[in-house]
Symmetry: C2
Subunit: 412 residues, 2 copies
């Protein structure tokens, strides 16, 4: 816990309380703060005798040999955060893995296969708009060139590949599961949702993850005067966006899914001018791929209806696909190792199978190696918020389960 | 027309056609482009033998003496534009007044009272969010200190007073109708709406102008994760904004008024985070003040309802008043002079009484001196758009009516 909180000096975010750790995090990927956290990770792992390599996406692999050669059993997560994020999302998973490695080294534990700690690049997708950015290239679902060419959502002059080189983490290891395989991947993460806290349970054995899709939606209208243009003469993309977002919410609700818009811009941005166009992000999710497809279809049909609705002047609605993560089912052997490990520390009643609402790097690794995830509760299920909080007891329990599950799997 | 188009090299905007003048304008107030247009205005008027003075708001007064001392009969408008504006809104009024003065000088016309051309500062309110910015200070409805302290809507580090000084137009004449009175104010402007073109009429004698109000609306929610936060656990200010804008539109429609949102921002601006807060501009209008008040009341009641609607977590909606322009009725003597002047050039059928949907500096001057406005049609009623267009014939006719009305009034 000390190392977790200490490293939060890099990218400290909003203060929300009086305590020394009562600040959120704003450690967007590939910024100077992210570089500082990476430097710490590298030094820490080398100090534990691990060999640290960096791939062409900046993913960092710290490896300790086992008695057998072969692909390492990895414990991984990410050190980047949301712009107004907290101290646990991703960070806990890396620090727990570092702590697990520390325990292994200090106790001279011998593993059959190499043991690794991985820090994946831009899991959040908050700065460059693909979540699981580094792990998706590793998994082969996103071409390297495309991944490196992504622009910062807040400043299109800043390109991912250039930022990666700037902070000195454009490595030379090929970023691919074939060239740099893992034997298994375990990840500890806060749940980020209400299920564990509401049920007063302490460990979630993650069965799988929701599917989700991201788009940028652009609505093109006609800029005209706010005071002189009667409603019947308007093609008002702001009003259409308002209707769109209201109806998208209804569509997602009907299908028991979720939809969210976090980014919204209007041009030219003048109080007394109806915008020329607006664009906004769209994130929708469902526990299964058919549900994601149904929401996708519903939203697009609704958009065609809204386009048709205009009077003399009409708006056009365009969808630019940004990211597509299918629903995931984790590997039975990993789930089994996690459940056994959990029940070794706490009662059966405090452990539950759970579905992840969020995407995780484990969703990408699962395509190439047995993968499992462990959830611990966070306060009120709140995440992507400076006040995100998990108790030290739950963090420590999670780290113990992570270590035990990885060792069980290695010996299994 | 040559001088109008030639000076559009300062602040040239979006190209929309192949012709030499087929570009819009982006001459935001107090920018370098605005300074260049002001420098031209000053040189031009001094070349015609006028004395040019500048007040503490940067309003420019070019005066030619009459046979009597006393407050000048002014012809005024503005040289600033919207960010994606056209070549006529404001610009036509100043150039027509310059041309009128040129005709007076070249023909050695003697007026009873001094004749003036005025260039008012920031009529648009597009950069610093008060329309009729300079003329409102002159009229005493906006305190000078407050006017000079306004921040740029796109960059809050840029302050109106500092920008005014930077371009060298913070003058020393007291900005007030008492210290620097006008005897009358005439303004030629494009209609910016569909009434004249749809009725194939060429001159509008403006009876008055709509009332309007501007607010910044802030909706505060709770930032949380897009994938893990069930709808019932959200305080989503983006969704509430969408409902707000949809309902505000219905409210304005019910009262036969207008409502527009041109600026919209969401924070922190991450695809997979429900925003912490959003803020947006609100511009609503009605031909009479009671209608403006009814829309105002309706929108605020609706906001209270939306706030109450949340579940476990609720959003808060705040209104920050930005600008308030009551409905206006212009002076009968000025309207009469304009009608007589118009009927001297074209048939009665081509002249109509009309209400202005937009605010104009004349709405401010009307509080202190007899004021009248002349509208000429613009294509499709389109304004605050790069393709805004008025025919040279209508521009010339408008300038003729402006000159004739001012001279009739001077002699009346
Ligand atoms: N765990 C997490 O917050 N991941 C970010 C990717 C997502 O949007 O689900
Ligand atoms: N004429 C004009 O566009 N004025 C700007 C002020 C307003 O928003 O009405």
């Amino acid at each position: 816990m000390d190392s977790l909180h200490d490293t939060c000096k890099w990218g400290t975010g909003t203060r929300w309380g009086d305590g020394p750790n009562d600040t959120g995090m704003s450690r967007l990927t590939l910024t100077d703060a992210d570089k500082a956290a990476r430097d710490w990770f590298k030094a820490e792992m080398e100090g534990l005798g691990c060999t640290v390599s960096v791939d062409t996406m900046g993913n960092m692999f710290a490896v300790r040999p086992g008695t057998h050669a072969g692909a390492p059993t990895a414990m991984g997560s990410h050190l980047d955060t949301q712009p107004t994020g907290g101290r646990y999302d991703g960070i806990l998973g890396v620090h727990a893995a570092v702590e697990a490695m520390r325990v292994v080294v200090e106790n001279g534990v011998t593993t059959r296969y190499p043991l690794a700690v991985v820090n994946w690049t831009n899991e959040e997708g908050a700065r460059f708009p693909k979540s699981l950015h580094g792990s998706s290239v590793w998994a082969g679902t996103l071409p390297l060139a495309k991944a490196l060419s992504l622009a910062d959502v807040a400043d299109s002059a800043l390109i991912a590949g250039e930022e990666l080189a700037r902070i000195g983490y454009a490595g030379d290891v090929e970023c691919s599961a074939a060239a740099n395989p893992l034997g298994a991947h375990f990840e500890l993460h806060i749940e980020q949702g209400p299920v564990l806290p509401e049920n007063k349970q302490r460990i979630g054995v993650v069965a799988g993850g929701q599917g989700y899709k991201w788009y940028t939606v652009t609505i093109r209208g006609r800029d005209s005067h706010a005071g002189t243009t009667p409603f019947a003469y308007r093609a008002d993309p702001m009003l259409l966006a308002a209707r769109f977002l209201t109806r998208a919410h209804e569509i997602a609700k009907t299908h028991s899914g979720l939809v969210t818009t976090g980014i919204f811009h209007a041009h030219p941005g003048s109080i007394n001018t109806i915008p020329h166009n607006v664009f906004f992000s769209l994130d929708f999710r469902h526990v299964d791929d058919a549900g994601v497809a149904a929401i996708d279809g519903g939203i697009k049909a609704m958009a065609r209806e809204l386009e048709a609705e205009g009077g003399r002047y009409k708006c056009a609605i365009e969808f630019e696909p940004l990211f597509d993560a299918p629903a995931v089912a984790f590997h039975p052997a990993c789930r089994e190792a996690i459940r056994t490990a959990a029940e070794g520390s706490i009662s059966k009643q405090e452990v539950r199978d759970i579905i992840s609402g969020a995407g995780h790097d484990s969703c990408a690794t699962n395509l190439h190696c047995p993968t499992g995830m462990i959830f611990v509760p966070c306060k009120d299920g709140l995440s992507h918020n400076p006040e995100e909080y998990a108790t030290p007891e739950d963090c420590v329990l999670g780290a113990q389960v992570l270590l035990d599950a990885a060792l069980l799997y290695d010996q299994g």
